[in-house]
Amino acid sequence: MNEILGTIIAPDTVDILIKYGINILIILLKIAAVIAVALLHVAYATYWERKVIGHMQVRLGPIEVGWHGLLQPIADGVKLFFKEDIIPANADKPLFYLAPVIFFVSALTSLAVLPFFEGFVVANINIGLLFLFAMSSLGAYGIIVAGWSSNSKYAFLGGLRSASQVISYEIAMGLSLVGVMLMAGSLNLSDIVRAQHQYPTGMYAIPQFLGFFVFVVAAFAETNRLPFDLPEAESELVAGYFTEYSSFRFAMFFLGEYTGMLIMSSISAICFLGGWTIPKFITDAIPFLLNVPGIVWFLIKVYAFMFFYYWVRATLPRYRYDQLMAIGWKILIPLALLNIVITGLVKILVKG
């Protein structure tokens, strides 16, 4: 084999190819693991949501499939896979197919740069935070294209609403994280976590409370969750941009949305809550906690944030569309800018 290749290309290139091949194999394995685990978490996030909201509304939630309905997500998945795939006659077919893929993939790609625990990240790149912004802005394409290619008024309106909402809040979200970048001095997510660990409070959520607040609100809007779920407001738009989708294509939107939530929770855990670490003053007080693997702390933080998502959904009513835009442009962006100015000033003053 090597000889055949060697006749076509230079022998040392073959070595390089083999070396690359092994690297690529490892990366592929990592990707597969991350996606599999993440999707499992996503599936159980839906289950957990129904349970949480059920109990909050004083009912039980899913209970039939498996013990306390534990197998419910799998049953749902199987059902969605075997449902009939209906495509509207006037739809723009290629784009109609493409839209859920874009949406889902852009959500999944973000997983690549998230450090789950010390040393474990699929791609440890220097501009991790920028990569997250890039990918989250891509989600808008999936939504717009889905809304437009369905050739349906409800879907189209939902798509437009969603796109303008996502674009507007992306600015606030980006700006809210600038404070973190300034404090950590890096865009690499692992570096941010390490810098955070060195910081006295161990979490940027405390000095960056303003940024954290803006980030949380923007995260809700970015993922089209209550109280900002205007794009899929069922009382107005049936189901918004994915009105015309069914079966597996619908499942991709559904999974994409929950992946998005998971990623937002992860970003907040990494950038504001200390990632896989816990503040030093806690470990100093209880040294035993050092033995607990970092992934546990990470998951606890992520699920706490997810719980907050559900809690808000069960509690708050939906905003009007103009109120949504007003909050984004007139409150969150100025607040985020203020946060940047204050952070920069404090950093200069403390340093010099």
């Binding site: 290309i9 230079a10 290139t13 390089i16 190819l17 690359y20 723009d92 290629p94 784009l95 493409l98 790149i125 220097n126 501009i127 920028l130 990569f131 912004f133 890039a134 802005s137 891509l138 808008a140 394409y141 717009i144 294209v145 437009w148 189209f156 437009l160 796109a163 674009i167 992306e170 890096s186 865009l187």
Partner: protein, 171 residues
């Protein structure tokens, strides 16, 4: 060898995608091809050790500018759009002129040799300092004034866009 292969792939795809962008009848398709094109160009930038610019390319070009295009395209009456011809009557003239300039420029570039000595921003230097930091340092010191002007340009663009696109209320 491998870099050349990579470059060959990207170059071929970028050219094909560019052609697709300017030749598709359906503007929405053009926008989607352009999205793909931007990703390839961003990858090419990564290839050239310009990771920050690559991220900006995706965030600003793909994430902001192209979404605006998509918005405007969606306002069009597509059914009518698909009925008419995509090129103007005198398209061969345009084709000839652009092809002729391209031929001349390519002919010149073929014999182009890089003569200037390398500057101080070597690959090692950038790796050491990270690209973002290197770019940021030079941007906020040497190019601070143009940077401020760029912010002013953006501000004016915001105001201008609002003024232009706002529906006039007839009193």
């Amino acid at each position: 060898m491998l870099p050349k292969l990579f470059f060959g792939y990207y170059a071929a795809v970028i050219v094909i995608l560019s052609l697709l962008v300017v030749t598709r009848k359906n503007p929405v398709r053009s926008v989607m091809w352009m999205l793909l094109l931007f990703f390839h160009i961003a990858s090419l930038y990564l290839f050239l050790n310009a990771e920050f610019i690559a991220a900006i390319q995706v965030i600003v070009y793909a994430g902001a500018i192209l979404v605006l295009f998509l918005f405007v395209v969606l306002l069009l009456n597509l059914r009518e759009e698909l009925k008419v011809k995509r090129f103007i009557g005198s398209w061969p003239a345009g084709l000839f002129v652009s092809a002729a300039i391209l031929a001349i420029v390519i002919n010149v570039i073929r014999s182009f040799v890089l003569a200037a000595p390398p500057g101080k921003y070597s690959i090692e230097y950038i790796k050491e300092a990270t690209h973002t930091k290197a770019l940021g340092t030079i941007l906020y010191t040497e190019y601070l004034f143009p940077f401020e002007i760029a912010s002013l340009v953006l501000l004016i663009a915001i105001i201008g866009a609002i003024v232009l696109a706002k529906r006039k209320t007839r009193s």
